[in-house]
């Protein structure tokens, strides 16, 4: 692995995909309005839940807003990097163009995970950060170094888990060819990341922390922000993220053995 070479290649990726995406400027504006509306919508839904009760699963409204903020940031990251690239895998495999990727003197996972970028997701990330700063103010959170490092670690772990989940599902395309709808299933499951895990029933809580670790993605970072997190939870998240990352790599290499080009 030559880090310098990969950085250089990534710069080129950024340049080409930004250039092609900025062709549709009105699209970006529409996407921004969509992101704002969807945030307003989920806060509206949350306010319905809190209409007649002060606590949902032990979380106050101001605290639950932090989860919304973190979800919005992660969703922005998904829309910027994961979604455009990993839906591309489906296309590569169906049309047989994965051959060209595999022939390149560069790591194939690197290539297909980072080739494209969708700039409208940036706006969503910024929106999420705005809400996060607002939450830090209304919840009177003291910013200090240890808190910042912990929140940075947990959020990066969430990003790793999210990436691995997306990558897992997209990789199964090698066997099933069309996995568009599997991605939809993942999307709808991820949707529950907008709410505190403790607001669900016990069985769903187990399901969403063992089988699909959505619980780790938004709830643990939010707990860090509120100073409620316990050390073992953070450690567990780091372990889960590492396991997921390593396995996504292994799974990709395993799946490639089964890849038989579309036209041959």
């Amino acid at each position: 692995m030559n880090l310098r070479k990969y950085l250089k290649v990534y710069k080129k990726f950024l340049h080409t995909s930004l250039a092609s995406e900025l062709e549709y400027k009105t699209n970006i504006l529409v996407d921004l309005i969509t992101a704002i509306l969807s945030l307003v919508g989920s806060i509206f839904l949350l306010s319905i839940f809190f209409q007649n009760s002060g606590y949902i699963g032990g979380w106050k409204f101001e605290q639950a807003l932090i989860i919304q903020a973190i979800y919005t940031i992660l969703n922005g990251i998904t829309n910027t990097w994961f979604n455009p690239n990993l839906t591309e895998i489906v296309k590569h495999i169906r049309e047989g163009t994965l051959d060209f990727v595999l022939l390149k003197p560069i790591d194939s996972q690197f290539f297909i995970s980072l080739k494209k970028i969708n700039p409208s997701g940036f706006l969503e990330i910024m929106l999420g950060f705005l809400l996060l700063f607002f939450c830090i103010r209304i919840n009177q959170i003291n910013l200090n170094l240890s808190f910042l490092t912990l929140s940075l670690i947990t959020i990066s772990c969430s990003i790793c888990i999210l990436y691995s989940l997306w990558f897992f599902i997209s990789t199964t395309t090698i066997w099933f060819v069309k996995t568009w709808n599997a991605i939809e299933v993942l999307r709808s499951f991820l949707y529950i990341g907008r709410f505190p895990l403790s607001s669900f029933s016990f069985s769903l809580r187990i399901f969403f922390s063992v089988f699909i670790p959505i619980a780790f993605i938004t709830t643990i970072p939010s707990e860090v922000f509120l100073g409620l997190s316990v050390f073992w939870k953070i450690l567990l998240e780091i372990i889960v993220a590492t396991i997921f990352l390593i396995n996504s790599r292994k799974f990709w290499l395993f799946a490639l053995k089964f890849y038989s080009s579309a036209s041959s």
Binding site: Y24, T26, N27, V30, D31, I33, T34, L37, S38, G41, S42, F44, L45, S47, I48, F49, Q51, N52, S53, I56, G57, F176, K178, W180, N181, A182, E184, V185, R187, S188, Y191, I192, F195, S199, F200, S201, L204
Partner: protein, 264 residues
């Protein structure tokens, strides 16, 4: 003679599309699974005893959300995505030459997909009843027929709205981002995530003038036996169809004049 010909056309279209859809059974099953968000919402409602404040019993609320799931399953529309692809790839040109509006083809596609989807939706409902045995009920025949009609009307409204958006392709090429924008109010205001009864008064005062509550909330209330204004709801649904249909015809005739046969 004329009506006979039309009948034959519709029948052939349906048959072709149904066999087409049967090929993608797994896809459609996955798609059905991706619609289970209402059940997660139900879990939040009942687990936090939020339904007490809106005077709906647990059993009635579970029926509501199950019906919302069903109505959503049979009113999903994706015409804008098919149309955008066909228009960008230049596949639209041969369709335009045929003496049949291409939207009939999409319409048949949707109906065929609903028929394929039906058994999967039943299986999901079966599992729902295993977990919530207290919510089993049998609507009487009249109500069942009326709710099938109102679900179909809801499907028609959404099909017309999306077809209008799809026709914007003739001007901007990428209309799916506008559809994603429109999907946000549909998601939050239609009653898929929370019944409209639970909305705060400042929203309830105007929401019944928009088409949204008639998409899911009204048919779901009807089917589940919750309180609703049956004749008023049906009249509003038909009214919206009468508003949207001429609009669609107008934009279609304007758009086909603009069509420049991309990709060929």
């Amino acid at each position: 003679m004329m009506s006979n010909l039309i009948n034959r056309k519709i029948f052939t279209l349906l048959k072709v599309q149904y066999s087409n859809m049967l090929e993608y059974r797994v896809e459609i099953a996955l798609w059905a699974i991706s619609g289970i968000i209402p059940f997660f919402m139900l879990n939040i409602w009942t687990n936090n005893n939020l339904n007490e404040s809106i005077n709906i019993s647990n059993a009635m609320l579970s029926r509501y959300f199950l019906c919302a799931f069903f109505v959503r399953q049979f009113s999903v529309v994706w015409v804008v995505f098919s149309f955008e692809e066909d228009s960008l790839m230049g596949k639209l040109s041969p369709y335009l030459i045929q003496p049949l509006n291409p939207f009939f083809r999409y319409f048949a596609q949707h109906l065929a997909e609903q028929i394929t989807r039906f058994p999967f939706a039943l299986i999901i409902a079966f599992f729902f009843f295993i977990f919530n045995p207290e919510s089993i009920w049998m609507p009487n025949l009249g109500i069942l027929l009326l709710s099938i009609v109102s679900t179909f009307l809801s499907f028609l409204i959404q099909f017309l709205i999306q077809s209008i958006v799809a026709c914007i392709c003739f001007w901007t090429e990428k209309a799916s981002s506008i559809e994603r924008l429109l999907f946000i109010p549909t998601l939050f205001l239609s009653g898929l995530l929370a019944p409209v009864v639970s909305f705060p008064a400042y929203v309830k005062s105007w929401i019944y003038l928009t088409p949204f509550p008639y998409l899911i909330d009204f048919p779901a209330n009807l089917l589940s036996g919750n309180e609703t204004n049956i004749s008023g709801g049906l009249i509003m649904q038909i009214l919206w169809i009468f508003i949207l249909f001429p609009l669609f015809k107008k934009i279609w005739s304007e758009g086909t004049k603009k069509y420049t046969a991309m990709g060929s």
